[in-house]
Symmetry: C2
């Protein structure tokens, strides 16, 4: 295992470099948005390019909520038999309108889930990134 | 494939029964919360019992934000080679304090990711549930 858990503690806090590396090797995540206290969450495919995240999406509620409140949270994770990881990003979402920006988005390699016509590109400017690696196992019960 | 996509349309909207069935056969999801426009998202293990979702979690920010704004969104998904699904729930979160409620939570079979001491139980009352099934494939490009 490439992650060294001190004293076999089941949760290891990852540094930014480790977190970015995990994001770069995954393509599926979820974006959470909020408008007036109403929270939404949608699965997305994403790409990473020069410290930013890029999404390609169809028009709809997800896009609308990002234009009202551009603060978003993003999560990607991976689960194996005996280990798991999760990376969470906080940032702001920007709908891309200029061809140069969209070209940068294309270079992130993001591809959508399904073969429908999806023409909106979104760039997430990352304010913070954090990651955790978990050694999976049984939960000790209290008083049992 | 058990999901019948009309005219091979890549996205199939699932009904509530199908959505619940997918949730019941998965144990890992993400909860999105929001306080004063700041959105957060955290990976969780969950259980389903009698039309409610149950989470078991350590105290911390996630819990704190749920007590300030109990509106949450929850997502679980699954990705295979040529198909994927995603189910999204909107509802309200309640921290469980009474033993009878916690007993119901235990019956949901939720188990946490890691063997740390986690003593908070959360019940999500589901306001809406929606699901989609995707046939994966290449994105048609516009004008190329």
């Amino acid at each position: 295992m490439k992650y060294d858990h001190d004293n076999n503690h089941p949760v290891l806090v990852l540094n930014e470099e480790q977190s970015w590396e995990l994001l770069a090797h995954t393509s599926h995540g979820r974006v959470a948005t909020s408008v007036a206290g109403d929270v939404d969450i949608v699965p997305v495919n994403y790409g990473v390019h020069k410290g930013k995240l890029f999404l390609r999406t169809a028009p709809g509620n997800k896009l609308a909520s990002m234009t009202i409140n551009d603060k978003v949270a993003f999560e990607a994770d991976g689960i194996l038999a005996d280990e798991a990881w999760s990376v969470v990003v906080h940032g702001s979402a920007e709908v891309l309108e200029h061809e140069a920006d969209i070209q940068e988005a294309r270079e992130s390699g993001v591809s959508p889930w399904v073969p429908t016509q999806k023409d909106f590109w979104i760039r997430i400017h990352v304010r913070s990134i954090s990651g955790r690696h978990f050694q999976l196992g049984e939960q000790p019960e209290v008083g049992q």
